[in-house]
Symmetry: C2
Subunit: 119 residues, 2 copies
């Protein structure tokens, strides 16, 4: 398979995009129409569901941004990467790992997030 | 969901079981009939396919055993854990993370393995 770097870059960008229209465009480029996201705290289905879920997350952490921490590490149609969430210049308030399956069209179809224990 | 500790314990045990019949019993207790396993090097489908895949892996690493390294960490129907593979008393020759989805009957349905970079 081709590199998943652009896909995961768009994925991080969609979590950080606060403009509703631009976020939906990023989400639509990154996940399939039948995609589902699930982590210990949040769930979202489809492009609109995932875009709205991200809006809710942004409300809980205003001014915070996600950053890629390690990876992506991919094989076949699977990818994993870790990320951090922090306010500008601050220490991470959360660190996690996302695991995704990739559809034939190159977008993510199932995404599972796990949170690392607080340091 | 209930704890995934026994499930993951059986999972590690099935990788270590060299007796064909006992291994198949452990595999059947741990994964569904329609399960699939995929890591960068190996793939197996169903109870017999996964049991035979494990036999092949054991031939490549005679005398080595898998051990749980961290986890399991589970939420909803998803679980992750890390493992190591080592000869008795030796340093690990491989370390990896497995991610699985869990069927309604409590067995693993999809299992994806990732390998950590060599230290």
């Amino acid at each position: 398979m081709t590199t998943t770097d652009p896909l995961v870059s768009d994925y991080i960008a969609m979590w950080n995009e606060t403009d509703r229209q631009r976020r939906r465009e990023l989400v639509a480029r990154t996940v399939t129409e039948d995609a589902n996201y699930l982590d210990p705290l949040m769930a979202g289905d489809g492009i609109d569901g995932i875009s709205e879920m991200i809006a809710d997350a942004q409300l809980q952490f205003p001014g915070h941004r996600f950053a890629l921490r390690s990876g992506p590490d991919a094989h076949h149609d699977r990818v994993r990467f870790s990320w951090s969430l922090a306010a500008a210049g601050g220490e991470p308030v959360a660190i996690g790992v996302d695991f995704a399956t990739i559809a034939d069209d190159g977008r993510m179809r199932t995404i599972t997030g796990f949170l690392e224990p607080a340091a």
